[in-house]
């Protein structure tokens, strides 16, 4: 064991506690999306114009806006119920989306039925927009299955937990759309959207996805929800440049949108999908948002971030600004909001009841569908297991 000893490491006594400079830098980084941030609805609920993207929101009438509000309230409500169910031992874990409702509902509602979506594991709001019933998500977190919806029918792939994997899968799917002639001006034109986080942008799979998509002009929207944190690591641990700027190096457009602004997310994603469907893909969208809860119910964010930061982001809540807009600019009355709240509570109750009533998987569930064609080894193991299992019956 011969190692040169000349190297003197730099030690800082209290790196676990953020310094004043770190606090200021953190607040600044999370406060501003930068001059390029696309916004149509300010945190104060004011509709602002954007010469480039207004036309992608021009058809949003009062009813549509109310529906977006409803989507977000319902999604937040069952997300909170997920946390509660975990705390009560009904779920092993829950991955909260709190704060990311606009980024998910806005982009999800931009999709056409024929488009395909590849989520990571926090996209409960996108699942909702694809018509996946929230109860179909429960098995993953209760430990009974890996997602019970049909990914082909819903055009919503299974959740992917291995960070970044889905970016290549989405790109391959989009290549297939192109190879089958589904890119162009036709009404049957298709695109794919791929969801991932700021942390994921460091993975090789994401980089390779960008390369492939660029080389094959694949109709895929890379939709990065920059919620400022990858568990305990701030975005500065992953990048020197704003993430949307990375796209330029791969040769396709990148854009940063206010991820807490459901209208802007909808408009920008509509634009990005249209680019892809008409052959100008891929596109990178960075939805600038904030993870308002822990990474998962197993995480303790007080170990690595400051409460001030959360307080700041609460002022930019994605749901509140739509509510304010509905009241101030459209005179929507309290009765509407009460009605949505009641509907949300009903959804939460149904979600809870479904969870509590979920039967355990069949004993031989683990042997089910491992292969498309039967494996003699596995069949023998299944039979031996079932015989062994039966030997306990009545014991």
């Amino acid at each position: 064991m011969s190692v040169p000893q000349s190297w003197t490491p730099v030690t800082s006594a209290d790196t676990a506690v953020p310094t004043h400079d770190q606090v200021v830098a953190g607040l600044k980084a999370t406060d501003e999306g930068g001059a390029d941030l696309v916004q149509l609805l300010t945190p104060e609920g004011e509709r602002v114009t954007d010469p480039r993207f207004d036309r992608y929101a021009a058809d949003i009438d009062l009813d549509t806006l109310k529906n977006l509000y409803r989507d977000m309230v319902l999604v937040r409500r069952f997300d909170r119920e997920g946390n509660a169910l975990q705390r009560q031992g009904q779920l092993g874990i829950w991955v909260p989306l709190l704060g990311q409702e606009a980024a998910q509902v806005g982009s999800g509602r931009a999709l056409a039925p024929q488009d395909m979506a590849f989520p990571s594991y926090r996209e409960h709001g996108v699942a909702w927009t694809r018509g996946v019933d929230p109860t179909d998500l429960l098995g993953i977190f209760r430990g009974t299955d890996h997602g019970t919806w049909d990914p082909i029918e819903k055009r919503f792939h299974l959740y992917t937990i291995v960070i970044g994997n889905q970016c290549l899968n989405a790109t391959g799917y989009a290549m297939g759309q192109k190879f089958e002639g589904k890119v162009g001006d036709g009404s049957d034109a298709e695109a794919t959207i791929c969801y991932f986080g700021d942390g994921a942008t460091s993975q090789g799979d994401v980089h390779e996805g960008f390369v492939w998509a660029a080389v094959y002009d694949a109709p895929v929207v890379f939709y990065c929800q920059n919620n400022q944190w990858a568990i305990s690591e701030p975005t500065e641990r992953q990048t020197r440049v704003p993430l949307y700027k990375r796209a330029q190096g791969y040769g396709f457009p990148g854009i940063r949108v206010d991820g807490n602004d459901v209208l802007a997310c909808l408009a920008v994603t509509r634009w990005a999908l249209e680019e892809c469907r008409t052959g100008n893909g891929p596109v990178l969208v960075e939805a600038f948002t904030y993870r308002m809860d822990a990474h998962t119910t197993s995480d303790d964010p007080t170990r690595y971030r400051l409460a001030d930061e959360l307080e700041l982001w609460k002022l930019k809540d994605p749901i509140e600004r739509v509510r304010v807009n509905l009241v101030r600019e459209h005179g929507v009355e309290q009765g509407f909001f009460d009605g949505i709240q009641a509907e949300a509570d009903e959804l939460a109750a149904r979600f809870r009841q479904f969870c509590v009533d979920m039967p355990p998987p069949a004993p031989d569930r683990m042997f089910s569908k491992v292969y498309a064609e039967p494996s003699p080894t596995l069949e023998a193991q299944r039979e031996a297991f079932l015989a062994y299992h039966a030997s306990f019956e009545g014991a």
Binding site: P4, T11, S12, T15, G92, G164, Q238, P361, L378, F392
Partner: protein, 324 residues
């Protein structure tokens, strides 16, 4: 003598190694400020600084690949992979560079890198958080592979792994992180690549490693209550295997049951069984039996009790062997 959880014992072992050698680095996702998702690296960044405890970008190939570069430069990186199922983006760097550089350079470029991997199931987790991929590493020439089973061993083994000039894949049984044991920091530990007889017995030899060792010991206790004395051996090292103590034992008992969480096909357990029948053929009074996970992907957690070898399945195999 301190009573420590396994997580704390590894933390203390890392700390001791870092104090001893300034070239020892800890690197991985969330290992710094957070102290790792299992808190195994808790407090290390605070005490050793950000240049020795690196919160890396989120990419396992990057973690392993840069560790290889740092090792070429004379550092001794200890990489943390957050969960077993996330090592695969780093597998290429492990197999192609980490494992082979010593051989390719004919010893001019040693690879004193440790890759710590919390492994195994039993914690009710979602997909990719409960796997036992040790055979995928034990199969690769150039890598050394170990698995600790208790706090005392963990404290010593992590330091020995860091001191080794070979790359060591260091498996930590995550469902035992919170189990406590006495750790004697003044003891002289056995060499890293040795297996250990942990409970003597005459009726049958029970071999396990990592998380199932506790299950094996419970089985031995249960069998003893019925008057059957099982001999229990903790494998500890999966590559190279140290099977002489197993051969000695089987020559005395005539029976062997190998226990592991990993699926059985082409596994470490299969290798143990093959070697024992080569070396102890005439002593065997029953076929070598394996109690393992099934040859399925790790199932949803509500099925894991059935997947994991438990006391009943181990005792069932013991009965079958004894009744042969």
């Amino acid at each position: 003598m301190a009573v420590l959880t396994m997580a704390k014992a590894i933390n203390d072992g890392l700390r001791a190694a870092m104090e001893r050698d300034p070239k020892v680095l800890v690197m991985g996702e969330d290992v710094g400020k957070l102290g790792g998702v299992f808190r195994v690296t808790d407090g290390l960044q605070k005490d050793f600084g950000e240049q020795r405890v690196l919160d890396t970008p989120l990419a396992e190939s990057g973690i392993i690949g840069t560790a290889v570069g740092l090792a070429i430069r004379g550092f001794r990186p200890v990489c943390e992979i957050q969960f077993d199922g996330f090592v695969f983006p780093g597998y290429d760097q492990i197999v192609s560079q980490l494992a082979k550089l010593h051989f390719r350079s004919q010893g001019k470029v040693p690879m004193p890198v440790v890759v710590r991997i919390p492994f195994g199931g039993g914690i009710g987790a979602v997909e990719h958080h409960s796997e036992s991929p040790e055979a995928l590493f034990a199969h690769v020439a150039g890598l050394k592979v170990v698995a600790c089973s208790n706090a005392d061993d963990a404290y010593w083994m992590i330091q020995q792994a860091i001191a080794s000039d070979d790359p060591v894949i260091f498996f930590e049984p995550k469902r035992r992180y919170w189990d406590k044991a006495e750790v004697d920091v003044s003891a002289t530990p056995p060499p890293l690549h040795t297996s250990r007889l942990v409970r003597p017995g005459s009726a049958l030899t029970l071999v396990g490693y990592g998380p199932v060792l506790k299950t094996c010991l419970e089985a031995a206790t249960a069998a003893a209550a019925d008057g059957t004395e099982l001999e229990v051996i903790d494998l500890r090292t999966l590559s190279p295997l140290d099977l002489d103590p197993v051969f000695d034992s089987v020559r005395r008992t005539g029976r062997l049951v190998v226990v592991a969480e990993a699926p059985s096909e082409v596994s470490v357990a299969a290798e143990v069984a093959a070697r024992v029948q080569e070396q102890c053929f005439h002593s065997l009074e029953a076929p070598v039996l394996r109690v393992t996970g099934f040859d399925t992907p790790y199932p949803p957690s509500k099925c894991e009790e059935d997947f994991l070898p438990d006391l009943d399945r181990v005792l069932d195999a013991v009965d079958r062997s004894l009744g042969w």
